[in-house]
Structures are given as structure tokens and as C-alpha cells.
Symmetry: C2
Subunit: 463 residues, 2 copies
């Protein structure tokens, strides 16, 4: 301690390079050592957790927050199992993405590399810490971690147990820094030259605050204003089912439905149209609000704004003349997260899929599928409504960047007369090719292998 | 005119969606129409260019700037040919990057999409304008373009000719906005919610200024401090050739060599060691400076700083004990651009390639190969020393993002009981598979096809 936050971030980068320089086996062995250490220290962890809980109870903390703070019996075993499963992931680093013969004897390859130093801010649930740390270790990244202050003692012991395992592998303990206090976060947010990515895992207001107060790229989403468009050829029973699922499965989630756009032809058709969908939503406890046109036509209370994230069972309904109007409405009022069309008209569906400029565009499926776990990405790092680096649900590839490796034999440029360029694409090295046959890279193939790890990870998030 | 810059950016995004909604053939046809219009208006363009030149001469502009400003005979034909070749590129949008069976009847694919709205700032050479516009049109992006004020009249007519071609294809002229004046640029730099990427094509100080004054992601590099490490097993003749090429081929380029790190065993070996390299550098006109250790041991004048980009024939030499020290020196003082090891020891080379945390890491090849053209990327958008989104030389994929398209048949989540997840990776659609077999995507395969386009593009940059 006593280091400036800048020094801490630089130390984390240096230590992450030690981590990156370990063999894949050693990085996995480190995770196994951490899993063992978590189990060996179960009693001590639980004691610190009880202190946090006692302090939170004394401060009259709300029961759902207390619930998230509490390490339940069996939790340590779960966390250890999660660390071992992340250890068993296929190696994410050094994977070949492309290979080319630039000129005779001069080859170029693009390989995956760690992003560098990540700042991850997570809320009260302390079990997120070992999970995030495990992913960072597997992917060779340094970490600055900021947890909730309610969980300070639990986070501190978890952090200590993890970093205590590092020196035996030649990695400095500074590889993972537990950041204390709000001021320290402000200090870090100014370090855009030494921190590569911020991942705020928490409320929309947290993400907005971070985005507005740093030049470091932020992976996340400040809001999720998702739309569903009912086309004239929608199966209204399917529409009812999917609208209810999209809205009510987890109303506070970013992928929950906020606005239902209804083609005008479905209005006034009784049970063969909008009425069936509205009745299902109301029966499921939803409160319908109207956009400017629906407010009058359907006698609904006015929605707060054309762009509004309810976060509860509220929902805006609006009537549109055609798909053009629906898409314009989405582009004007959406957040670029997830939109869905309900239709049996395949051409209309394909047009919607092609034209809607959002991270996720669905046909006849619940907006709730927008999720790293459901997308099979291996482990969800976050959902991005940014357009660069990573868009939509992001798996571990969001923690990676690339490097270009070029091998020659004395090749020089000399105003481009030094070599005769062939630029011939080469097949990937055989042992790697099958893993990177798609742009999703290695993340997809291991989806099943890390299923338990995922479930643990999901438990640490609040969707 | 009269629109606020925010309105202009929003209009560019809306128009870019019209562009994106065109078929690939129509976007190509638009580029052919632009090529025809450039040729048809050659005289008018040349007249405006002459006015710019006259004004620049009256203002005593330096001759090399005048030279860049001047549209030479045949230039219009070249620009038209370049636009037609970019039109003939394979379609960059909607390319499948991955495909998965999420559950029975529920498929997910990831496809390429335009990034959105780009701000591109380029210096005096007006022929960059049609080239940048052509790439943006092919990739479905809206553009805010800021050219040098010396070229104002030439840029204005080129811009007008291009956007006049758009309405016939159902695309608003606002798709490409020519931004006037420094204040307008400041205004745009504040629009991080409507502009997706800034690409400053110009001096390091321009890039630094932009990076320090916007929250919009910047694709570029403020500096390029490249290192070459001479290993004990270096072929000193090869080292001499490659050091000279890396330093002198274009000393002002970002991929030029700035620091030569020499293993201590190569010192005092006469012509079998460092002396051969130093003699070649001096013979090529270079001025050698010493790091702290070399300054004394080799009696060299001191370098200005351990991290210094000369931009001329100056070069820092430093002595290191071993590869660890060389790599630490690079990590402490480099800019993460390009580093090279010279050695005949393959294991040492592979260790260097694995451990050096820079965008490009080379073995026995000139640092000058770090370049989109030489890397065969199809068209160079820039060279990025950022770690997110794109790293190192960036081709047109730097102008793209992705979307997730999901097709179901009434699939719902219902707390993950609604479907049975299979997460089975599917082969890419046959007509697309061969184009995206590597992470480089389509960019590599077309390298040869756009060779002329590339040469034109390169002429517009200053490397």
C-alpha cells in the first residue's frame, strides 16, 4: 500500500506480463492453486463475511442487498469449482486468427493477446471477485477491482487468498489490485494511458457515471430500451407469449421489452389482433402506456417519453403504419440493444433483420435471449451497446486484443523494391484451425465445458 | 448548411442507414456513378484546384505543401479508377462471422455491419477525399470529413460531385458532410453519442490533439517509437541492412526505427559485432545517440530521453545484458507499435515474439513492414496503437462492427426453462464460408484486386 493508483496500475500491467509469459499449463495450475486455497480458507472467509453482514444489518441494509452480500453454505466449493473450470478452458492467448505469406520467406500471423489492465467495478455480491479474477488470470490480464463497500472484509480476504497464490508462479501479487474508496476510482478513471478497459457491472446509473467520467473505453450499456414490432402477419398467440416473456421474465434486465410497436392493421381485429397480446400482458401484471398515437386510439395513459426504460412491468405501446415507421421509431428512440419482429412473413423478417441497426435483432424470439450465456459465448463479460471493439453480449474475447507476428529472413522494404509481395493467405496451423473457424473464435466451442462456471458467473450477476 | 454539427452528424447517420439498406450492387453502382461524375467534371475540378494553388502561392506556402495540394494531370482518371476498384471489392457488409444452433429451431449468427458515422480529418492533399468517401460508401458508413483549409475549394467541388450522385440512389446528400472550420471540429469532438470513430490522418500532434480533446474513440497513433534488439546470435550483416532500412527508408514514418538495443556480447567484437551495424548506419547518414550505458561505453552523445521519436536520421543506441533487459526497456520506453529481434537463434526469436507486448513484433524483418498495404490488408484505414477494436495496421474491418441476428419460431426464455440449450456451432453458410475462414475476414482475399486502389490510397498518405 502507499502506492499511487498510477503506480498500482503500472504494477498490474507489469505483473500481467509475467502472467502472460506463463505457459498455459502454469496459468491453469495457478487457478487450481487458487481453488485449493479458497477451500482451505473457507472458515476464515465465512468469518469475514459474517462481519460484513453484521455491519450491514447494524446499518439497516435492505434485505435483498443483505441477501446478495451473504456467502451461503457450499458457496466456497462452488467458487473453487468455477475457478477449476475456467482453468480447464482452452487457452485463449496466442491463438492464430490469420496467417499470410507476405513475400517469399516472410510470413505474418495475427494472434490473440491479453487486453492489458482492466478496471472492473462490481456491486455488493462478493462471489463475483474470484470469478472475475479467474477469467482475468486465464486470459493474462491485470486487474484493478473495485467492490462494494458493504463487502469490504469479504472482498479483502478473497483478494488476499488469490494474490497469495501468485508469487509461487513468478507473478507479482500486484497483478490483481483491490481498489479501496471512491476517490481511488476517480483517480483510476483518469488513467486512460495505463488502463485499457473499464467494465462496470452494476446499475445503469453506475455505467452512465463511469462513461461520463473517463476517457478509458467502457464495456457496458447505460440503458436497454428494447422494442418488439408486431407485423401484419404476426401470429398473435406467439406475439402474446413472446411479449409477456420479453417483458416479465426479468423486468429490470437490460434485455427486457420496453416498447411494443403494433402495425395498424392489428388494431380493431379483436382476438385476432392486438387485443390478444394486450390481454396477455395485462394478465401477466403489466401496465400498458401509450405512445402519442396509441394513447388516443387505445385510450392508454401516456408513456413518460418515446424512449423510456421502465425497469418494471410498465410497457409502452405504439401504433405504426408500416415497417419503415417501426424501424424509424426504433432508430430514433432505441438504445441499439435488442429489437424483435414477430411475423410469419419471412421476407418481412429478413428485411427487419437486415435494416435494424442494433446489436441484436431477433425474429420470433424473446428479447431475453440477448445474453452471453444464452448466446453460448462461454462466459459473459458484459453486454455492450458501444459499436467498437465488442457489440452485444460479449464473451471472454472482449478481454482480448491481437498482435501481429512477422517472421522473415532479412527482409527489407527499400521503398517497396526490397521484396516481391505475394500476400497469399495461408491455412491456419493445423492444431489451431478448428478452434478459430469462425469469428467467434474459441469462445463458442467451449460453451458446454464451462457450463458450471457460467452458472456460477450468472449467479453473480443480477439478470 | 445552417444545420448544427449535431444535426449534421445525425443526418449522416440516417443517410448511412439508407446506404446500408442498398443492395451491394447499388452501393457499387453509386461508386461507378461517382467515378463517371469525377471524370465528367475534370475541368471544373482543376479550375477550383488552381484557385487553391494560387491562394497558397500568394500566402507563400512551402513548396512541398504546394506539391501535395496540386492535382496533377491524370489524377482524376486515377481517382475514378480507384472508386471503381473499391466498388468491385467483395461486399463487406452482412458477412457471416459465426453461426450457432442455440436450441432446436433457434439459430444465431454474427454478421458484419457498418460502424456508423466516422469523422475523418485529413491534411492538405485533396485527392484523399474521393478515396475516403469511396471506402465509406462501400462499407455503408456516414462520414464527416474535415480537410485542410488550403484545399478548401478543391475539397468543396469534389464533395459536391460525390454527394450529387446520392439522391438518385435514394441516399440523402448528408451521408457525407464536409465540415468547415476549426470550431466545427471542436463541436464534433464533443458528439461522442453520435460519432462512432475519429480517424485523424496527419501529424502526430494532430492525433495527440484529437485524442486529448474527445471521448470518441480514436483510430491512430500519436507516436511510433520502434525498437530493434540485436541478440548475441544476430547475423550482423543482416542486422546492419535491417537497421539501415528500418531507420532510413522513411525516417518520418511511425514505423521507422528509433532505438537499437544491443546485447553486450556484441560490443567490442569489432566487425563481427556492433561495429558493422554502427558503421552501416553512419554510412547511411544516421546520427547515433547513446542511452545511459551506451553513452559511456561507446562514447556517443546522449539521447534526448530513453523514449524519443527522432523523425529524422537520429537513432538511440543502448546496451543490454540480456533479452529480459531488452524487453523491459521496450515495455518501459516503447509506444507499443513495432519491435524487432535480429537473431539466428530460433528459440530466442520465438520467446521475443511471444513476450513483447506491442501491436507488431518481428523477427529478422524491417520494422517498415508495419503497414496495411505491406500486410496485405486491402486498404489501410490507419495504424492503431490503441489496444481495443483494432491494433496495428488496420484495414477496412476497422470501419466495421458486428450485429447478432437470431431467428426463432416462438422461442421464449421463461427463466431458462423455455428452451433446451444446445449451443452447437454450425458451419458458415457455404457461399460465405471461404471468405471468412480467418479472423482477417474478407480483407485479405481481396488484397490483389484492389491493388490500384491501394496505391492511390497510399499516395494520399505520407508514408
Amino acid at each position: 500500500m502507499g502506492m499511487s493508483t498510477r503506480d498500482q496500475a503500472v504494477a498490474a500491467r507489469n505483473a500481467s506480463r509475467q502472467l502472460q509469459n506463463l505457459s498455459s499449463e502454469d496459468r491453469a495450475a495457478l487457478l487450481y492453486a487458487i481453488a485449493d486455497a479458497l477451500e482451505a480458507n473457507e472458515d476464515a472467509i465465512m468469518r469475514e463475511n459474517e462481519k460484513d453482514i453484521a455491519a450491514a444489518e447494524a446499518a439497516d441494509t435492505e434485505s435483498h442487498l443483505l441477501n446478495r452480500l451473504k456467502m451461503k453454505p457450499g458457496k466456497i466449493a462452488q467458487l473453487a469449482a468455477g475457478a477449476r473450470q475456467i482453468a480447464d478452458m482452452e487457452e485463449p492467448l496466442g491463438r492464430q486468427l490469420s496467417k499470410m505469406k507476405v513475400a517469399d520467406g516472410l510470413t505474418l500471423e495475427q494472434v490473440t493477446a491479453p487486453l492489458g489492465v482492466l478496471l472492473i467495478i462490481f456491486e455488493s455480491r462478493p462471489d463475483a471477485l474470484p470469478q472475475i479474477a479467474s477469467l482475468a488470470i486465464r486470459s493474462g490480464n491485470g486487474l484493478l477491482l473495485k467492490g462494494g463497500k458493504e463487502a469490504a472484509k469479504t472482498n479483502a480476504i478473497l483478494h488476499q487468498i488469490i494474490v497469495d497464490c501468485m508469487p509461487a508462479f513468478g507473478v507479482d501479487r500486484e497483478c490483481i489490485v483491490l481498489v479501496e474508496g471512491r476517490e481511488a476510482v476517480s483517480d483510476i478513471l483518469a488513467l486512460h494511458d495505463v488502463v485499457d478497459l473499464v467494465i462496470p457491472r452494476g446499475s445503469n446509473s453506475l455505467v452512465s457515471y463511469i462513461s461520463n467520467n473517463t476517457k478509458i473505453p467502457v464495456l457496458g450499456h447505460a440503458d436497454g430500451v428494447c422494442h418488439m414490432y408486431l407485423d401484419p402477419n404476426a401470429d398473435v398467440k406467439m406475439a402474446a407469449k413472446l411479449a409477456v416473456d420479453s417483458k416479465t421474465d426479468y423486468p429490470a434486465a437490460c434485455n427486457a421489452l420496453e416498447t411494443l410497436l403494433v402495425h395498424k392493421s392489428l388494431i380493431g381485429k379483436g382476438k385476432d389482433g392486438y387485443e390478444t397480446v394486450a390481454a396477455a400482458l395485462v394478465a401477466a401484471g403489466c401496465t400498458l402506456h401509450g405512445g402519442a398515437r396509441a394513447e388516443k386510439a387505445l385510450k392508454l395513459p401516456a408513456c413518460p417519453a418515446p424512449r423510456h426504460e421502465y425497469g418494471n412491468l410498465g410497457l409502452t405501446v405504439e401504433i405504426v403504419d408500416d415497417m419503415d415507421q417501426a424501424i424509424d421509431y426504433i432508430h430514433a428512440n432505441g438504445s441499439g440493444h435488442t429489437e424483435c419482429i414477430i411475423t410469419n412473413d419471412k421476407a418481412a423478417a429478413e428485411e427487419f433483420l437486415r435494416r435494424v441497426d442494433s446489436a441484436c435483432v431477433f425474429h420470433n424470439a424473446s428479447t431475453r435471449f440477448s445474453d452471453g450465456f444464452r448466446f453460448g459465448l462461454g462466459a459473459e463479460v458484459g453486454i455492450s451497446t458501444s459499436r467498437i471493439h465488442a457489440r452485444g453480449p460479449v464473451g471472454v474475447e472482449g478481454l482480448l486484443t491481437t498482435r501481429w507476428l512477422c517472421r522473415g529472413d532479412g527482409h527489407f522494404v527499400e521503398k517497396d523494391t526490397g521484396v516481391k509481395y505475394t500476400h497469399q493467405k495461408l491455412p491456419l496451423d493445423a492444431n489451431l484451425a478448428h478452434k478459430v473457424a469462425s469469428g467467434l473464435g474459441w469462445a463458442v466451442g467451449i460453451a458446454n465445458a464451462v457450463h458450471l462456471g457460467l452458472m456460477l458467473w450468472k449467479m453473480a450477476t443480477k439478470k
